[in-house]
């Protein structure tokens, strides 16, 4: 059984394997491509793009915590125009599957971004970031408001035929209700999870270690929370899930598939081991071989609760 099928389909989106690189942890592909063959990756998700460039937050933007890190980058990005002009050409060359992550401060801005970007053949899907904890406008204000998520999803759905992923915030009581709302308004999948809101203080200066005061917690520390959220969605809503949160190795990725994810995204691990994606794809292949799984999608939601 050497022909293991690692491919997965999400809406119209065909992925050669279920290992994606998460938004905000690969930039626009350029720098990380020195360490990893992006053409072999399921897909890469761009850093959140907004209509206009954003400078992002002043330093300090990151701080390490126990098995995790806090970040408050503030959606620093080059803006739509520069993205199209300067970043897309490189991404086209790479022959990688490209998912564009969009962050906006109004529904109109989401729609406008999607309209413009939809014209670009190379962009195969959109991931709508309604859940960034680190900006005042947009971000969590949307992410924690189910009506906002509904409205954004339905408007954005009208603006594109491409595959649509809604990236959910874990900072809510019932994430499945948001997944359900996304599904009902026409999303093809949900990405779960974005970072958890966290903080750290310097006991000498009494200042927050992160200039933005709070930041988003990512990394292995949040893996159990992310798994529970994926599982919660899978049990309650019939929509494909892209699992994210603390995935660092093959075992972690498999855990997410078992818990209900159709694919996974790697975030923080890219900073530490930028080739992790390839290693995990290899690892998944081996796991399937050893466990007689001929099609990786059979792992999705394969938990045994007996």
């Amino acid at each position: 059984m050497n022909n293991i099928d690692l491919s997965v389909s999400i809406g119209k989106l065909k992925l050669k394997n279920p290992v994606l690189l998460a938004s905000g942890t690969v930039g626009y592909g350029n720098e990380i491509s020195k360490f990893i063959d992006l053409s072999k990756i399921g897909a890469i998700v761009t850093k959140s793009i907004s209509l206009k460039p954003r400078k992002g937050n002043p330093p300090q933007r990151i701080v390490e915590t126990s098995s995790g890190m806090l970040n408050a980058i503030g959606l620093a990005n080059v803006g739509l125009e520069v993205f199209v002009k300067e970043k897309l050409p490189f991404l086209e060359e790479l022959k990688t599957t490209l998912i564009c992550n969009i962050a906006a401060s109004s529904i109109e801005e989401y729609v406008q971004c999607i309209r413009i970007l939809s014209e670009h053949e190379i962009i195969k899907a959109f991931e709508i970031n309604v859940s960034c904890p680190n900006v005042k406008d947009g971000g969590l204000i949307f992410g924690n408001n189910i009506e906002a998520v509904k409205k954004i999803t339905s408007e954005v759905r009208k603006a594109t035929e491409k595959t649509l992923l809604i990236k959910l915030s874990p900072n809510t009581a019932d994430i499945w209700k948001f997944a359900e709302a996304a599904k009902n308004e026409g999303a093809d999948a949900v990405s779960a999870i974005n970072t958890l809101v966290g903080a750290a203080f310097d006991i000498k200066t009494k200042k927050p270690k992160i200039k933005n005061i709070t930041g988003g917690l990512s990394g292995p520390a949040i893996k159990p929370v992310a798994l529970a959220k994926v599982f919660e969605i899978h049990r309650n809503v019939d929509i494909p899930i892209i699992g994210i949160g603390g995935i660092s190795n093959t075992e972690d990725a498999i855990e997410f598939l078992i818990a209900g994810a159709s694919a996974v995204q790697l975030g923080t691990i890219n900073f530490i081991n930028p080739n992790a994606g390839i290693e995990i794809i290899e690892g998944l292949k081996n796991y399937c071989l050893q466990n007689n799984v001929n099609n990786i999608s059979k792992l999705t939601g394969s938990y045994n609760l007996s």
Binding site: V26, N30, E31, K34, F35, E64, M69, A76, F271
Partner: protein, 252 residues
């Protein structure tokens, strides 16, 4: 820019809590330039999670060395590395110092551990430019001489060299070099770099500084290491656009 599993050649405590770590890293050694840094995984576990950045201190054939002091858990773990231990190193990262611009006397200015990039810089400048070295430390016990014999020293408490900051020291000597086209190379704690920025601007001396910040990736994908551009139009990324900057380009 590669990832290399590097064997420890030696890890010597050359002053109190200050270590000189030498590893065998042929690829990093063959590409590394003065002012660049490496991002080092100090453990194989999630603790600490992130790599730790350290300037390349020196390169000898296929050996690379780093100078560091113990400030937290990561550097503590690193200080425990022994001969033949293997360390996972990502590098070389960032842009080194610019050496081919118009100057004939390189002025090294370092505070404390800021001395780290200068052994390699000195090597690269050898036979090309003249060099004067100004090093400061809090006290004699914290002075790291490395292989810099002929240098100017300052200590805050006057226990070695001139009493005062390295900037005071520099200022007291600068008039001896009026015949040269100077370029200052600065590295050290942020307050010292700020003073140096101001000083070089006032004296209209060309100046490059090596800037630090917390980092996650070290190669431009996390955007965690901003430093404000001089025109306030946005931020450079220290790891990718630096760590060496033209002193007048950034707001510290």
């Amino acid at each position: 820019m590669i990832i290399e599993n590097s064997k420890v050649i030696s890890n010597i405590e050359i002053a109190n809590n200050i270590f000189l770590l030498t590893v065998r890293s042929p690829q990093i050694a063959s590409h590394g330039k003065a002012g660049q840094f490496c991002n080092i995984k100090v453990s194989n576990s999630n603790y600490p999670l992130l790599r730790r950045p350290f300037s390349i201190c020196d390169i000898n054939n296929d050996e690379v060395s780093f100078l560091f002091n113990i400030v937290g858990e990561g550097t503590k773990i690193l200080s425990g590395k022994k001969e033949n231990d293997v360390i996972n190193i990502l590098g070389p990262l960032g842009n080194g110092f610019l050496l081919n611009d118009d100057f004939d006397l390189a002025v090294f200015v370092a505070g404390g551990l800021g001395i780290a990039p200068f052994p390699l810089l000195q090597k690269e400048l050898k036979n090309k430019k003249q060099i004067e070295r100004f090093f400061g430390a809090r006290t004699a016990a914290e002075i790291i001489t490395l292989d810099f014999e002929e240098s100017h020293w300052a200590t805050d408490d006057g226990s070695l060299g001139r009493r005062g900051t390295v900037l005071d020291l520099l200022d007291s000597e600068i008039n001896n070099f009026t015949n040269y086209k100077l370029k200052i190379f600065g590295c050290g704690p942020t307050p010292m770099l700020k003073a140096l920025q101001k000083y070089s601007e006032e004296k209209k001396i060309k100046c490059e500084i090596s800037v630090e910040s917390a980092m996650a990736c070290g190669f431009g994908i996390c955007q965690g290491c901003p430093v404000e551009k001089n025109d306030k139009s946005g931020f450079y990324l220290i790891c990718k656009d630096g760590p060496v900057f033209n002193s007048s380009d950034v707001i510290l």
